[in-house]
């Protein structure tokens, strides 16, 4: 059996197992568990696509919240029913074509990604004229601009009042299928010649250029693909929490994503997945430390914010002992796993 064939079989088998587990949760799990699983999937999509620009291309991009915002608003405005829109827009009515359109969820997700990509296309010209800190500042600024626009364009976004009453379309199948699709697409891209060119740009842009790699073309490609998936994830997020407002998409969202990919391992998709899982699940699991506890005879009252303290400690420990994040730049592979289990076929 060749290696490729073996890997293909193992990949398919693990997908079946994953969806089997999801099915079990769907059937027997509680609403709370399903919600956390959905959060994990959305954050995996966000982190993996964000990692493409930050980890693989090595550009400190601080504006994914802009694309998530655009995606969330696009898909939300497309799936809301005209009556719901009329009820929600109490200050200024929604402008015409948007006020009557209602499309199925999957179209709205594609549109969310597309609109985010279009914005990314236009913003990429000023963004990739600069590098390093300056690129960080330009993208950060873009993120803020989008948020402020959401506040100001009341006849499109309902301003700070936000949108509500979205149908909870995001279920385990949607969120996990898209997460897995994102991982596959981005992983294929990273392992292609384009991906290698992106890594070359990360290591040394001038050397890459000397070898005939066009940095602008490759960076823009990564940026657009990243924006597309961020937009789709934004749409998923909007339909998961069923309400959005500009306050959801502040710089803190970007900041959380940055933590996820740095802790997971900058430049590693596996790391991004692990980081996202730990972040979305860990935050809830650590709630235990905030509730009142009795350890033997000692009563400890609940202290809100304790889990943030613990979370910070965990982050510090990870960064001290694994400077490059949990996985470093390594990726998960079946070879590695079978090697560990020491019955790899050779």
């Amino acid at each position: 059996m060749t290696k490729t064939r073996r890997n293909l079989i193992l990949n398919c088998a693990s997908l079946v197992v994953l969806f089997g587990i999801l099915w079990l949760f769907q059937e027997y799990g509680t609403e709370y568990q399903i919600r956390i699983l959905n959060n994990i999937a959305v954050f995996i999509t966000l982190a993996v696509s964000y990692n493409l620009v930050n980890g693989i291309c090595g550009q400190l991009h601080l504006g994914p919240n802009a694309f998530i915002t655009i995606g969330a608003y696009t898909s939300a405005l497309l799936t809301m029913s005209p009556t719901e829109k009329q009820m929600s827009f109490i200050i200024k009515p929604l402008i015409w074509p948007l006020s009557v359109i209602q499309v199925p969820f999957w179209i709205s997700l594609i549109m969310a990604g597309t609109v985010a990509t279009v914005f990314a296309f236009f913003i990429s010209f000023p963004v990739f004229r600069v590098r390093g800190d300056y690129l960080a500042i330009v993208t950060l600024g873009f993120g803020e601009v989008v948020r402020v626009l959401c506040n100001a364009l009341q006849s499109v976004t309902n301003g700070p009042l936000g949108l509500k009453g979205l149908k909870p379309y995001t279920n385990l199948w949607w969120s996990w299928s898209i997460a897995i699709f994102t991982i596959i697409v981005i992983q294929r891209l990273i392992n292609s010649s384009w991906g290698r060119a992106m890594k070359a740009i990360r290591e040394n842009e001038i050397a890459a250029q000397a070898m005939g790699v066009d940095p602008f073309k490759h960076l823009m490609m990564a940026f657009l693909i990243s924006a597309f998936f961020s937009g789709v994830a934004g749409g998923l997020l909007a339909h998961l929490i069923t309400t959005i407002s500009p306050t959801l998409f502040t710089f803190f969202l970007t900041f959380n994503l940055l933590i996820i990919i740095v802790v997971g391992g900058l430049g590693s998709t596996t790391g991004a997945v692990i980081g996202a899982t730990l972040f979305a699940w860990g935050g809830e699991a650590l709630r235990v430390v905030e509730s009142p506890m009795d350890i033997g005879p000692i009563h400890i009252p609940g202290i809100p914010g304790m889990r943030m303290v613990l979370f910070s400690v965990i982050l510090m420990v990870v960064i001290i002992f694994a400077r490059r994040g949990i996985t470093g730049r390594n990726e998960f592979s079946w070879d590695w796993l079978l090697g560990k289990l020491s019955f790899g076929s050779r």
């Binding site: 009042l161 936000g162 509500k164 407002s245 306050t247 709630r287 506890m293 350890i295 914010g305």
Partner: protein
């Protein structure tokens, strides 16, 4: 090998700990969940409300002869966390009713979940009209932004005899936008005229451009329903520019910082509010204020008072329903009439929005002074 032995000892120790560590647990209690922003951007609101809730719980610790247990879950002032929190309260803690969140955006994230689970929720301070719109199990203890804006307009016309108003709106806050818009509608309806509308953003420091426009329009009153920081800075700059017309604002101004930052400039600033100690006439309010001041050594604030009202409304509804069934509590809540709460007399109106009176306060000699009460 040494490493492995240590690892074993450690895991045994941890397992032992796990046996002893168990969440405080009591049988046969009524659990009421609270999801509040105890950390994050609006942590101050969450903490004030939790203080109020604890006093309320001390005053009425029982319903239907059973102990009531308050379960607090933090939302980090975040929507995703707020949704998780409500899910957790319902499924892990099995609460019969929910109090929260402090701000509208997060309440809108939590509401749909409790709605689907048929668990009634009462938000102390989510004033955005969309929060309870179209929801059967969602209630609140505060009045909504449109109502506060309308009352401000009536006060401006009837008491301050203003004909021309200038409106300054913080467009980054749903609260400010809501108030201002409904003020304008009502003010125009009552025969007034809005001569200037200008916009600011939370965090702005310089309002000269907006105030110049206001000055040129020569209004009788400035309506600036914004938060205390912007209100105080704006008042200062307005007085420096020689604009001496009265300033009217909303309950976002009710914080000691307003006076600290604004000093002399905020003297005679009027604001509509949910609560003032002097306006509190009910027995419950008197008892609450006494207990609050004894425990925290400071004046009772509106956030705490509204949180306490949310709790009292729920306890009252549970008592009247005679059951902890979600639908029955909901029906009892919806039929609340003339409830003598801390922040005034509450009757539950349409859409889970209470009908209650608005208190008007003003700043005098560096203190918030009660002016009058406007009834609905």
């Amino acid at each position: 090998m040494k490493g492995i032995r240590w690892f074993k000892i450690l895991s045994v120790l941890m397992a032992l700990c796990a046996c002893f560590v168990s969440p405080a647990f009591a049988e046969d209690v009524i659990k009421i969940g609270a999801y509040l922003p105890m950390t994050g951007a609006v942590a101050a609101y969450g903490q004030m409300e939790w203080n109020g809730l604890q006093i309320a719980h001390e005053m009425r610790p029982k319903a239907l002869g059973k102990e009531i247990k308050l379960v607090l879950v933090d939302t980090k002032s975040d929507k995703i966390e707020a949704a998780n929190a409500v899910s957790r309260l319902i499924e892990k803690e099995k609460v019969v009713a929910i109090i929260g969140e402090a701000i509208s955006g997060n309440t809108m994230a939590g509401n749909p979940i409790s709605e689907a689970a048929k668990i009634p929720s009462v938000s102390p301070t989510a004033t955005n009209p969309l929060v309870t719109q179209g929801k059967k199990y969602a209630f609140r203890a505060c009045f909504i932004d449109p109502f506060q804006g309308q009352v401000a307009a009536r006060f401006a016309r009837d008491h301050l005899k203003a004909k021309k108003a200038a409106v300054i709106i913080d467009i980054a806050q749903d609260y400010c936008v809501g108030l201002a818009n409904f003020f304008v509608k009502e003010f125009v309806k009552l025969g007034g005229q809005v001569v200037s509308t200008t916009y600011i953003q939370t965090g702005d420091q310089d309002f000269t451009a907006q105030l110049s426009a206001v000055q040129a329009a020569n209004p009788d009153i400035i309506y600036a329903p914004n938060y205390y920081t912007e209100d105080a800075l704006m008042a200062k700059q307005a007085r420096d520019l020689g604009i001496n017309v009265p300033i009217l604002t909303g309950d976002g101004a009710q914080a000691d910082e307003l006076i600290k930052i604004g000093g002399k400039a905020v003297e005679n600033m009027y604001f509509t509010a949910h609560f003032h100690k002097k306006a509190a006439t009910t027995e419950l309010a008197k008892e609450y204020i006494k207990k609050f001041e004894a425990k925290y050594k400071k004046e009772a604030d509106a956030f705490g008072a509204l949180a306490a009202d949310a709790y009292f409304l729920l306890v009252d509804a549970i008592e009247r329903a005679g059951s902890t069934d979600g639908t029955k509590i909901r029906d009892a809540l919806a039929s609340t009439k003339n409830f003598q709460g801390v922040s005034g007399v509450i009757t539950m109106g349409e859409n889970g929005n209470p009908i209650k009176s608005v208190v008007i306060n003003k700043v005098e000699d560096g203190k918030f002074v009660y002016v009058t009460t406007v009834n609905p």
